[in-house]
């Protein structure tokens, strides 16, 4: 007998061991996320995927679904919380979309549109870390990192290279390259690595491409992220 829980008032079936995120997606419901990825275990750091279960705010990517749960996701309360999280991410880094080459392909920007974030709200911190251009094919623009650790996980678990890691905590947290020099050019990183192609924002960039695809004809220019994300798995 299939078991179910209620997701925004609609019954969603699930199998043993499925998280709320997995079951909701299988049933066609989009839940915003940044650090989650279908090919990786849940990470639970970005908190964008929060939902309300039994009066508590929990990460839907990590919490196993249970029979009879009442899950609230697309509600004004939860979306306001997600917007606040996005606003914090925007001011922590340099996310100046009009001159960022990732514009239109950036999940942070796309979620801000999806969740109707219209202002920065908090004071900008304006980090100022120099770019790392030492690698022949790839560029690192550290000031846009949102610390999702997708590159860290991809490089360690799939590429088996462990090129990236995060260091320090809180406001001092930042991405580092695992080389004595700290430079990407001194690692065996390759443009074909999964880690080179997984960053949801504009940190890990292929060189010399820039604005070759016009703004307006990019992934999230064509369709909202809720649709792109759900179609990707079909």
């Amino acid at each position: 007998m299939t078991r179910r829980f209620m997701f925004d008032g609609q019954p969603v079936a699930f199998e043993d061991g499925q998280t709320i995120m997995e079951a909701a997606r299988a049933a066609g419901h989009f839940i915003p996320y940044l650090c989650w990825h279908p090919d990786f275990p849940p990470h639970g750091s970005c908190k964008l995927c929060i939902v309300k279960v039994g009066g508590r705010h929990v990460s839907s990517c990590a919490l196993p679904a249970k029979e009879g749960m009442e899950v609230e996701s697309n509600t004004p309360e939860i979306n306001a919380e997600r917007r606040a999280l996005l606003q914090m991410l925007f001011v922590e880094g340099n996310h100046f979309c009009p001159s960022c080459e990732k514009s239109g392909n950036c999940q942070l920007q796309a979620l801000a549109y999806e969740l109707e974030m219209t202002s920065a709200r908090f004071n900008h911190i304006f980090p100022d870390r120099p770019v790392d251009a030492s690698h022949p094919d790839m560029l690192l623009e550290f000031n846009r990192c949102i610390f999702c650790e997708l590159c860290v996980r991809a490089s360690r678990d799939v590429d088996k290279k462990s090129v990236f890691s995060l260091t320090n905590r809180g406001i001092h947290k930042h991405l580092v390259v695992s080389a004595e020099s700290g430079r990407l050019g001194d690692t065996d990183f390759s443009r074909d690595d999964l880690a080179a192609n997984i960053c949801p924002v504009g940190v890990i960039l292929r060189k010399r491409v820039g604005f070759a695809v016009p703004i307006g004809q990019r992934i999230y220019d064509e369709k909202p992220i809720s649709q792109v994300s759900m179609e990707a798995e079909k």
Partner: protein, 487 residues
């Protein structure tokens, strides 16, 4: 002579008057006058606080980002910076000559920018002064006043500008912060829909531009004494010119003429600009003073922009504008026209030319198909020069093997015209202000002269005819004894 007004003797004994227009965008211009006890102007200086930090900001950025990034330099002419940067970076990616489709798309974008900028400048910023008079009621001296008195003029101005903006959108992707030009070419063609939409209005734009030229000529002829003499001074002139001597606002080589109209230097390749143009720093000004190196800063300065371009070329390669150019040249009766207010006349001739160029280009199939990108052996350095609406704009970059910009030098039109604008305000100050009690209308004469060169200084607030301005008269000891404010 007015040039003597750069630095007064015994400055501490003079009254100081400050005209400080607050502008919302990048350029902030301020005029200081020193006046003696007989109300004679003894010193006049235009100070422009340039956003020089930008060159440092660009250093260390990847080169492919630069044509988009530099648009933040200026809210009025982002497209010119976009294109000048792309042209400079074409050299870096080994494509000094881009494909036919790419060059035509960029040209179309650029002439759209010329059209919209010239329309904005003339109709919104300057026509209130010219139609109502420099000392007319300040409450009416704005575009709203023009719309009330001359509704058709105002309407055409608005629609000409809008058409230019549509050309930009169709080629750059957006009206502002477009991304159409990339190092080595373009990232888009013109769509069939946009082509049809623009073609439908092109004839009207040409004919309205003709009307605008006619309007400026009428203004000149009505008060020739004013128009020929207001802020008039001799100077050299510089602009890009096509190899055959034609006006070309997108490319070509640098040509210099002396005040009599004789060519003193011709065919200077854009990549060699720094062999010819040097910049002088003066203690009182943030903005540098460019000059022809071989002549030195005192003799070697020049003016740029429409007045220089219309007279520097041998002909304009579009029939209606060429007829107007000939009439303009004839007005000089054998000598170049150096009248500051003639900038408006020359500007409207260029607007007509831009409208003609856009109209004739729209039938070109290369805009809608064909290869957009070119590449070749990498280079480390590149210069891009374009005739921006207000004058010659130079972008110069060095790029390292790691693809990051290691050096950036920009000389914008306003900087080229620094000495010329200072000379214009000194000429106006000694002729109109000296010996008289200063009023808002008299001080507006100074601004009229500046406006003829460059709308970027007073920019957006100014566009509404409201230039917040504080005037302060200081006593020799520095205390303020008179102050009035206009909002």
């Amino acid at each position: 002579m007015s040039a003597a007004l750069e630095t007064a003797d015994n400055r501490q004994n003079l009254r100081r008057v400050v005209i400080d227009p607050v502008s919302r965008v990048e350029g902030h211009g301020k005029v200081t006058l020193l006046i003696d006890e007989d109300d004679q102007v003894r010193e006049a200086r235009l100070h422009i606080v340039e956003f020089r930090g930008f060159e440092v900001f660009i250093q260390g950025r990847p080169y492919w980002e630069v044509p988009v990034m530099v648009q933040r330099l200026c809210g009025i002419c982002p497209v010119s910076h976009h294109l000048a940067a792309a042209k400079a970076l074409d050299h870096i990616v080994g494509a000094p000559q881009v494909t036919a489709s790419a060059e035509k798309m960029r040209r179309l974008m650029h002439y759209g920018q010329i059209l919209q900028s010239h329309a904005l400048h003339f109709f919104h910023l300057s026509s209130p002064d010219l139609l109502f008079g420099f000392e007319s009621d300040v409450g009416r001296r704005n575009i709203v006043g023009v719309a009330g008195e001359y509704p058709e003029v105002a309407r055409q101005g608005v629609l000409l500008r809008k058409f230019g903006q549509e050309v930009i959108r169709a080629t750059a992707g957006k009206r502002i912060h477009g991304t159409g030009a990339v190092p080595g070419g373009m990232n888009r063609h013109l769509s069939a829909d946009d082509r049809a939409m623009l073609a439908a209005d092109a004839d009207k734009m040409v004919s309205w531009s003709q009307d605008a030229v006619a309007l400026v000529k009428r203004l000149h002829r009505a008060v020739p004494e004013l128009y020929d003499n207001f802020g008039t001074f001799d100077s050299r002139m510089m602009s890009l010119v096509r190899a055959d001597g034609a006006m070309d606002l997108y490319g070509g080589a640098l040509r210099f003429r002396d005040a009599e109209g004789a060519i003193i230097l011709d065919g200077v390749a854009d990549q060699d600009y720094d062999q010819v143009i040097h910049e002088e720093v003066r203690s009182w000004s943030y903005m540098k003073f460019p000059f022809m190196h071989e002549s030195g800063p005192d003799a070697g300065w020049y003016k740029v922009g429409p007045l220089a371009r219309v007279q520097n070329c041998d002909f304009i390669p579009s029939p209606l504008a060429e007829v107007e150019r000939q009439e303009f040249v004839a007005h000089g009766a054998g000598r170049p026209v150096h009248a500051t207010l003639a900038y408006h006349w020359a500007r409207m001739i260029e607007m007509l030319h831009a409208a003609e160029v856009i109209r004739s280009m729209l039938d070109d199939p290369d805009l809608m198909s064909g290869e957009l990108m070119a590449s070749g052996p990498r280079a480390r350095e590149g210069v891009g020069i374009i005739e921006a609406p207000r004058g010659t704009l130079i972008h110069h970059y060095r790029v390292g093997d790691d693809d990051l910009v290691s050096m950036c030098n920009l000389i914008v039109s306003t900087t080229h015209n620094n000495q010329a604008m200072n000379t214009a305000i000194r000429t106006v100050a000694s002729r109109y202000l000296s010996g008289r009690k200063l009023t808002e209308g008299l001080l507006n004469h100074i601004e009229v002269a500046i406006r003829a060169f460059d709308p970027c200084l007073s920019c957006a607030t100014h566009a509404l005819g409201k230039m917040p301005m504080v005037l302060e008269l200081q006593a020799p000891d520095g205390s303020i004894f008179e102050r009035f404010r206009r909002d």
